[in-house]
Symmetry: C2
Subunit: 513 residues, 2 copies
């Protein structure tokens, strides 16, 4: 039963003087019956103060205890799976398959952090036994605020990568629920709260606050005890949080993943020889109804004699795309407004719309694109812009003009090697992940994944928001000098009780000292 209440420092609270908001079903266009309470300033402060009060205790839990806690979160998510998935489908346009898929992805992500905690070397324990005796390890930075994302009600929201990586790092989390799927978020929050109860951990470790306006989020980010922020969403939203965090007396890191147009460059010979490109790219554009941050929003083709069928084929593919409505009607109406504006720019691009969905494809020339660089702005949804380059120099000039991206893809065959070798160093400076086959949608949750890229794709390209390395966002190094063995954290004690691989006097070893 969804209550619409806030989970404040471990307690589900009703607040009679609250503002209320509702979620809606984009498939029916109707509001759900539940009224959600917007957290008050007092509740927001209490959530942060509660998190602060248990920070020391939680950050001192063992890696095993935290791994166990994450495992119990999985168990509780499984118990509530029917309710979660029912609500997921009632509050979003996504079909059952996507609901199941995203649930599984969320569970898999938690698995990765359980593995990380069980293995332990992420603590980067480094010991120097000469005088002075210096021992360094990573420690938790403090209470973290995580914002649920609109496009991933599970995998990038309440028990998503940001929350789980922060909990794995020993940081309490205050989750600001995304107002489009506040019910789904509440069910997941219940699972986390239940897991805390079962693990006999302080319930203050996790709070869950609702709100439709920017108020709750900004109060959280400005609270002096908050030490870091995780966000996935629009440039506008992420940049506003980032700027706010810099105006605090103590600036704090805001890890905002703000999307990107993920350019795909198709080189001359590949374009001619690979007849499957339009099919593959068309599918990628429609995937998740275009609502992946790695959606290929820009396709740059090197087509000197304009002799390829690629554009026609891709237009056909887009026309035929059959997609459901977007995750939320507000997102769809924003998208449609952007499309109308693009369609009106007839002198700049030709827009082909799908007959069965909101998908669309724009086509323009390199010369027009280079003079209208606002065409490189993200259109969040199943839209992509094809830019035709007659000259390879145009393609290189275009690459050089692009802002930072999560991904950049180069599709070329062996005969394209010459131009590819000129393009690669340009794109290397632009992206967090470079692809040489396939499409950028699909973000594997592994240690080799980098999901993050130069600004404005993210606010800090030195970190990833997907994959186990995302834990480093919530940790900082601390050195102990000449510390009595029994006062050291377990990771640094002589006996190596955690059996970590540690760097001792420059050499990795699992041995005791």
């Amino acid at each position: 039963m969804i209550t619409g209440q806030n989970l404040v420092g471990g307690e589900w609270q009703s607040n009679n003087s609250s503002k209320y908001f509702k979620t809606s079903n984009p498939k029916t266009g109707k509001n759900l019956s539940i009224s959600f309470e917007q957290a008050s300033e007092d509740q927001t402060n209490l959530a942060v103060d509660s998190a602060t009060s248990v920070f020391e205790l939680y950050s001192n839990t063992t890696l095993k205890e935290r791994a166990q806690f994450l495992g119990i979160i999985q168990d509780e998510l499984k118990i509530l799976k029917p309710q979660i998935l029912y609500c997921y489908q009632a509050e979003s346009s996504f079909p059952e398959g996507r609901a199941f898929g995203e649930f599984d992805r969320t569970m898999d992500q938690i698995d990765r952090f359980i593995d990380l905690l069980n293995e332990g070397s992420f603590l980067q324990a480094t010991i120097q036994t000469q005088s002075p005796d210096l021992r360094k390890t990573l420690v938790s930075i403090g209470p973290i605020v995580v914002f649920g994302a609109s496009n991933f009600p599970l995998a990038f929201s309440t028990a998503g990568g940001d929350t789980i990586s922060a909990l794995a790092a020993g940081c309490p989390v205050i989750l600001k629920a995304h107002p489009y799927h506040a019910g789904t978020s509440e069910w997941v929050a219940r699972a986390i709260n239940n897991a805390l109860i079962k693990c006999d951990l302080p319930l203050e470790i996790f709070s869950h606050l609702g709100g439709q306006s920017f108020t709750v989020g900004s109060q959280l980010v400005m609270h002096p005890n908050i030490k870091g922020v995780g966000f996935t969403g629009s440039f506008k939203g992420g940049k506003a949080l980032y700027d706010m965090s810099q105006k605090r007396i103590e600036p704090i890191p805001v890890f905002a993943e703000m999307g990107s147009i993920n350019p795909v460059f198709i080189l001359e010979n590949k374009l001619k020889s690979d007849i499957n490109l339009a099919e593959i790219l068309g599918q990628s554009i429609g995937l998740g109804i275009g609502q992946f941050c790695t959606n290929p929003g820009l396709i740059v083709i090197h087509d000197p004699r304009e002799e390829t069928d690629f554009i026609n084929s891709l237009q056909m593919k887009i026309k035929e795309l059959s997609l459901g409505p977007m995750v939320h009607s507000q997102i769809e109406s924003n998208y449609n407004q952007q499309l109308i504006q693009l369609k009106n720019k007839k002198e700049l691009l030709q827009v082909t719309a799908s007959e069965n969905s909101c998908a669309a494809l724009g086509v323009t020339s390199a010369s027009i694109f280079l003079e209208n660089l606002d065409l490189a702005e993200e259109v969040f949804g199943p839209f992509s812009l094809v830019v035709q380059c007659k000259e390879s120099s145009e393609l290189l000039a275009l690459a050089a003009k692009l802002p930072g991206q999560l991904t950049a893809t180069i599709l070329g065959d062996i005969n394209d090697r010459n131009i590819l070798q000129k393009l690669l160093p340009i794109l290397k400076e632009k992206a967090g992940r470079l692809l040489f086959e396939g499409v950028p949608t699909g973000v594997a949750v592994t240690q080799a994944m980098q999901h993050g890229g130069p600004y404005p794709a993210t606010t800090d390209c030195r970190f990833t928001s997907v994959g186990s390395d995302s834990i480093y966002r919530w940790l900082r190094p601390l050195s102990y000098q000449d510390c009595p063995n029994e006062l050291l954290p377990a990771a640094l004690q002589n006996e190596n009780p955690l059996q970590l691989s540690r760097k001792v006097d420059g050499v990795f070893t699992n041995s005791a000292i």
Copy 2:
């Protein structure tokens, strides 16, 4: 022969329309004869553009080439050692011993980075061979600005840790010379420039710009092609650079190490039993004429019955301290002004001044300190404030009120364990390095060192500015997906040509794939 010119993109340039400034000898109070040119806006831009133009080439040099380059820098520094050390002593108050010591420290620091490059695992090569094939490594972030520090004309300046770590990371460097030791800085810049020539590397990799005002530095930080900044100095200077960097269209990281008062807590039994404390702390306060960022500026003693000789002994020690003048007369006059203000606050603290030097000691009570927290502001120089706590609760309350610090020291013996265990978790949140013996001055350049701490000690406590891990400030992760082997950076190629320890499918190995 010092020219006073700027080294712009590898070329020593004279600029007739420049503003000029001079350096002075604090021992004589007289200016040196050389006139230094302030870099013009054109020169500043040219330096950054030059660095940008060679970034790709330099970032693609092999680790061996970079290690060789750093080795040749050492050789060139040795060749110019007589000139460097002569100028060092002419432009600072520091005696010959300090000049030699800091030169050696500078060389040792370079050794650490040569070792790091020869070993190579800092690239954190991570490979996942399943589909998709994903390979991640760290890559250079771009041209870096480094500001020379006033208190370390060599080890934290032109060929200091910031410059050398950035060069090791494959980033070109523009060095803004500290105006107090512009001549020393020019000699060191010549060594780096000579090393580039000998290594047949593009001279644009290193520029050296002078200027007395804030203008050159702010132009550099605001230049869109600059990707990171290293700074060691005052809170005011560091925070100004940081705030500026956040106003750019693309915010960039500014690693500002802004000093700290490095609190030393002496617990009750230790205070009674260790008769050497006053001697050791007195020496530490005077070390480097008080101009170390780890100077113990606050000494908190737990002295319930006020029966200890510690304060008397430390006052005696400070009175007898014989120190030279501070590094620069301007720094000394700032320091003396602060002292005068403190001496005038008779109702807050009692100040004992040295008879032979500018050293001084303040004494106050915990209750006064807790009501006048501006007493926790850094007094840069050989000054320390002793705070007497009658109750252990005062000591804990005081610790909780402190802002972020580079270091915090707890001196206690086995009978102090009870209070120590309460104090430790508080200080853990406040500092980058915790000491349990000795004094915080002395910062070992090793992998286990953390020189950095929570704001306002630094602007980013997740990184260190001393030790080989300081290289991570200038690197970011990049993933390659399904990349042809020959297009991968060497660190990620199947053959493992660099013979790195790499994480392949979750397991560390030196093997080829």
